[in-house]
């Protein structure tokens, strides 16, 4: 047998290998186009009409569309990483992943990247079709900064996702429900469909630990004329916080994955099924 990869090469191989099933199956099974793209787009439209029905400022419609687009990434983090790990335990794959000499972070990153194609297509569809349907115009004031915000948001979000995923090593059946529980509170607190500035300062500040909060706020400020007026903090501060969150979450994820794997091994939870 030839030589084997280790270190970063093994990490990269593992990421690609775990992303592979997602990428391939998006081609083989196409129903996700309906359930993950078309229907969520329709769902976002409902929130747009809530604003329209009550005479809201047109810029808020843009906010809803941006929120709907970015929420796709949060959903991917919750379901494609967190809950997926629980499912892997149920099917017996988790034991094989742990037993192999790869890194769980690589497995999780592979899951996330594999789902990224679907997620990005969903986000882009909501953005493009939503803006066309409702006549929303996004005036990008600083494209480079917008890219930085988006990139940092993704790193921080997925770092947070890895942290959550580690907790799934310990969960039983409550895992699915806890993931489901994390959806609406995050949409509420992060201001997915409204400016987070509507909350008092301390609530909004506390909600800023969710990367989606400041990411959405910064993106809205950079793409809308009333964004700055409705923004929570200035964009520079928000970028700095996002950068800090990215680092903290990635380090915490690495630590938690190791600790909780040890705990799961001690309590015999890695291979239990249907508990």
């Amino acid at each position: 047998m030839g030589s084997r990869s280790s270190g970063w090469r093994l990490f990269a191989r593992t990421v690609m290998a775990r992303a592979y099933p997602r990428l391939v199956m998006n081609v083989r099974e196409k129903w996700w186009l309906v359930f993950d793209i078309v229907l969520p787009l329709v769902g976002v439209c409902a929130y747009v009409f809530v604003y329209r029905a009550n005479g809201a400022h047109p810029d808020l419609i843009g906010f809803v569309i941006l929120g709907g687009a970015m929420s796709a990434y949060w959903m991917n983090v919750l379901w494609a990483m967190g809950n997926q790990l629980f499912w892997e335990k149920e099917t017996g794959n988790l034991a094989l992943y742990i037993m192999a000499p790869n890194s769980m972070m690589a497995i999780l990153l592979g899951m996330a990247l594999g789902g990224m194609a679907t997620t990005t297509l969903r986000a882009a569809s909501i953005l493009a079709i939503g803006s066309l349907m409702f006549g929303v115009r996004f005036d990008v004031s600083n494209a480079a900064m917008l890219f930085v915000v988006f990139a940092l948001a993704l790193v921080a979000l997925y770092g947070m996702g890895m942290m959550f995923a580690s907790m799934f090593l310990l969960f039983g059946r409550e895992g699915w429900h806890l993931v489901s529980l994390a959806q609406e509170p995050v949409f509420l607190l992060s201001g997915t469909f409204f400016p987070v500035r509507n909350f008092n300062f301390w609530v909004a500040a506390g909600a800023s630990i969710i990367p989606l909060t400041l990411a959405l706020d910064a993106i809205r400020q950079l793409t809308s004329s009333s964004g700055a007026a409705l923004g929570f903090l200035d964009v520079g501060t928000e970028v700095a916080v996002l950068a800090g969150l990215s680092v903290v979450f990635l380090i915490a994820a690495r630590f938690l994955l190791a600790q909780l794997e040890r705990l799961a091994i001690a309590e015999g939870r890695l291979t239990e099924s249907r508990a």
């Binding site: 047998m1 030839g2 084997r4 990869s5 280790s6 090469r9 093994l10 191989r13 593992t14 690609m16 290998a17 775990r18 592979y20 099933p21 391939v24 199956m25 083989r28 099974e29 099917t91 017996g92 794959n93 034991a95 094989l96 992943y97 742990i98 037993m99 192999a100 000499p101 790869n102 040890r262 091994i265 001690a266 309590e267 015999g268 890695l270 291979t271």
Partner: protein, 333 residues
Amino acid sequence: MQALAIETARLGRIYKPRRNERHDTKERVALSDVSLAVPRGELFGLLGPNGAGKTTLIKILTTLLAPSSGWAAVEGYDVHREPQFVRPCINMVSGGEASGYGLLTVRENLWMFAQFYGLSSSDANRRIAELLEIVKMSDRINTKSSQLSTGLRQKMNIARGFLTDPNVLFLDEPTLGLDVEASRDARNYIRRWVKEQATRTVLLTTHYMVEAEELCDRVAIINGGRVLACDTPQNLKRRLQREAIFHLEAAPLGAGDVAAIAALPGVSKASHQATGFGSSVELMLQEERVLGPVIGLLESRQIGLRTLTKREPTLEDVFVELVGRSMEEVEHG
């Protein structure tokens, strides 16, 4: 250089009920005081009934479960404290596992698992082709694994285990779900694979006596979480060599007749089974000359003897001698 592939010392594992479990779930001792030493190059068997602790032991050795007491090492590395060094050297195949992804083909599933061990794609694909040829699944290489039967799925699992050419391979009931021919082929390959390189070791768990006798260099008999005996199959059976085992077919025997036979001096065990045409009795006698009084008893009760054969002891007999009941009786409680 470390000569032992697997070593355990007073290994124990207790499953404790969790806070949210029902109050009537008690603590369960899955393993107790297990000490084993498996040298490199050995095909070591772990034989015991369902619930004996075989899978628990394998989970500990494959770093999936922490021991409650004692320690264990694989390839010289502590499985609990140094799992990162153990994992590159091992692989595991369980009977009836449903790993992989149903919508991927056999090749894709195996390729994916090969990547987790750092194999290059070219090496992985070459090994996949070789192994599928060995398990006679080459024609199914592009079949989605959700379309495989149970037996074919298990063959794919077996291929996955050998794919990474581990130093230590753990096989937990690997022939579960395989037909007779496939089981035989699997056993032949396992034996050949171990003997090909002195650095390869296999720990096989099974509750099939034939599998343990046929394959294993040494066998540990385990029941209730404890290792009751550990030796080569021949030596284990030699423990019973001083005893004589006979099988007789006779006219129908009543409960009183069987009890009378069992009560004869020198009769260690007499187990009776009614057949369509009479009775079948397994006799374990302390010495051969005890057979005379048994035949005499049958004659005095005018019970016709149809056939009488002496048979060699099997590992099942060893188990019965150690535990006092057959494996089937233990499993049925």
